[in-house]
Symmetry: C2
Subunit: 354 residues, 2 copies
């Protein structure tokens, strides 16, 4: 060991869904939206004054924040934006999870949650989903240092309603409760209405799924003004300008085109329901999804075998080599045509294999 090496930090980072430079793949492994963003995004970029890129962006992200506040019918001092919802959640950990007691989240959930715990030295405990992969509210009644829950959950796709979230909040009024609503726009319940009653609630959203803007890194948090102000302090202690000028321009244009957004989400929900039925017809177990993906398993063929067979066909889906879900596959909802290609392949594959 060299003398300077003992000051280094070794971490076990998050691994995102595989990217491929191949052109002809059907990419159903990263929960991306299969459709392009609103055409208003392209229009907005066309108005960009390139000669002004020499200037720092608006560090307050005022226009994007005001547009989001109007959209969600909250005050602008209740909104925070960041470089993707991952950055927003990382800032939430730094701002809100400062207790010696462990924070709590499900055993099967977004696998970045424990990674942030390790990065920021936040103690944590996980609570097992039940045998139907549902979160049990009562597991979250005991004393803790904070809670982070995705609703709908990922990679299960299962969502909970108002009573469930309110119940968790009612039993956790002494800590910050983060509800990660990354997938909420595909038929889930948003807890925004609960912000008025619960000052300790933080809601996180992303532009990467329902807004087709994974390429641009935009996320947001909605909470009471004191919590938003602390998030800004963390952000301004980390990087004064996390959002670039183009991302803010694009994000604003996207939020303003509500019609496109709603039609897009509706479209994906329809495709999801048809594809879920098709998979059930092929013998798959399909968990009920309120997201843009389906968690599925087949009673007769191992998940990683199906994963490999699909990959050979240039169809990328997601396999997690993790306890309890190592016989499941997470399939992003793509276009109707992509899902039909996958369905036709699976039909033939199952017939040939079983």
């Amino acid at each position: 060991m060299k003398p300077w090496q003992d000051k280094l930090r070794v971490l076990d980072p998050y691994v995102p869904g595989e990217q491929s430079k191949e052109k002809n793949i059907i990419k159903l492994n990263a929960n991306e939206n299969p459709y392009p963003p609103s055409p208003k995004v392209e229009d907005a970029i066309k108005t960009l004054d390139f000669s002004k890129l020499n200037l720092y962006p608006d560090a307050l992200s005022s226009e994007l924040i005001e547009t989001l506040a109007t959209h969600h019918k909250v005050d602008k001092n209740q909104v925070f934006v960041g470089n993707g919802s991952d950055e927003v959640i990382a800032f939430c950990y730094m701002a809100f999870f400062n207790s010696v007691k462990p924070i709590v989240f499900p055993d099967i959930t977004y696998s970045f949650y424990p990674v942030w715990c390790r990065l920021f030295n936040v103690p944590f405990k996980t609570k097992a989903l039940d045998s139907n992969f549902k979160i049990l509210a009562a597991d979250y009644y005991e004393e803790n240092g904070g809670i982070i829950l995705p609703n709908p959950n990922a990679p299960t796709g299962i969502g909970e309603g108002k009573d469930f979230i309110a119940d968790i909040l009612e039993h956790n009024q002494d800590v910050i409760v983060i509800i990660d609503e990354a997938y909420v726009d595909f038929g889930g319940y948003s807890a925004i209405e609960l912000l008025e009653k619960y000052e300790n609630l933080v809601i996180v959203h992303t532009f990467s799924k329902s807004r087709s803007l994974a390429g641009l890194r935009i996320g947001s948090a909605i909470a009471n003004p004191q919590l938003i102000s602390l998030l800004n302090s963390v952000k301004n202690s980390f990087n004064s300008y996390t959002m670039d000028s183009i991302a803010m321009l694009v994000g604003t244009a996207s939020i303003k085109d509500n019609e496109y957004f709603e039609a897009n989400a509706k479209n994906i929900i329809q495709t999801r329901e048809i594809f879920a039925k098709n998979l059930k017809d092929l013998g798959f177990t399909v968990y009920p999804s309120q997201t843009n993906f389906l968690l599925v398993s087949h009673p007769k063929i191992e998940a990683n075998e199906i994963f490999r067979a699909c990959k050979e066909q240039n169809i990328y889906i997601r396999y997690f080599n993790l306890p309890r879900i190592d016989n499941c596959l997470r399939i992003t909802v793509g276009t109707d045509s992509e899902m039909n290609t996958l369905k036709d392949f699976l039909k033939k594959y199952i017939k040939d294999t079983v």
Copy 2:
């Protein structure tokens, strides 16, 4: 106090140079480049396929990293990129400054350095610049947990050469030494050639100054592959996709247009030297600058008075209400025309005031 409030973190963040929405200001307060980015940047954005913004960016930033590696004549596994050099430095703190011993930096320097220390609980010590605002290498010989030095320094503008940096490295082989070269392209010395000899050296660059891309948030680090790999682990434990697709496209196009870059830097250096002479003729003390700004003071008029008088003329310069430099002003080098307007105003103002 409400029960959930004791888990919150209260910080004292960095405050960047004031932004204004007014159109007719001469903005010399944030060390922005007064010229637009390379026209190749606009060409690159015109090739953008908007229909692909639904996809996550390349998490490895391969094209930008390869382009930077070629430009700096280093291996691609020696390059890391991030969402502005502030993010890159924040990751460096997390990856490299993990000692109970204090890290060391000058008392007058980039005021974000102590902010990151507070955010990440890194102990620190400052060393006073000498009476000419120069860093004394011998101050950095004692035992420490790491070193961060800007070269050239900011807000002094003063740069040091090879022997100075090598001397610091020679005396600090048991810790990581970060040289923050944010302003190096305006006539400073880059320590890239020292990377081969010193495995504990990390060099940080930004696209916000010499590349006229403050609006897009791009920074980089160059170091030995082991250190780059640890930076990637921190990044992937924080946010898998810190760089968006457009920023990477733009950054790559900018690096490839070396001719524009060099002409731009040369132009700013020329303007700086002419303006420095003009200020000296007006009785100002002007510190020798290797950056795109000048640190100046006037023997007869207080700095904050000059600051206010300029602001009334819609000329924004930077005043720091901080020990030792509270009678100095930091003036960014703008266009020739902007500097002439400022010079003419100062000439009249000094005549009327003294």
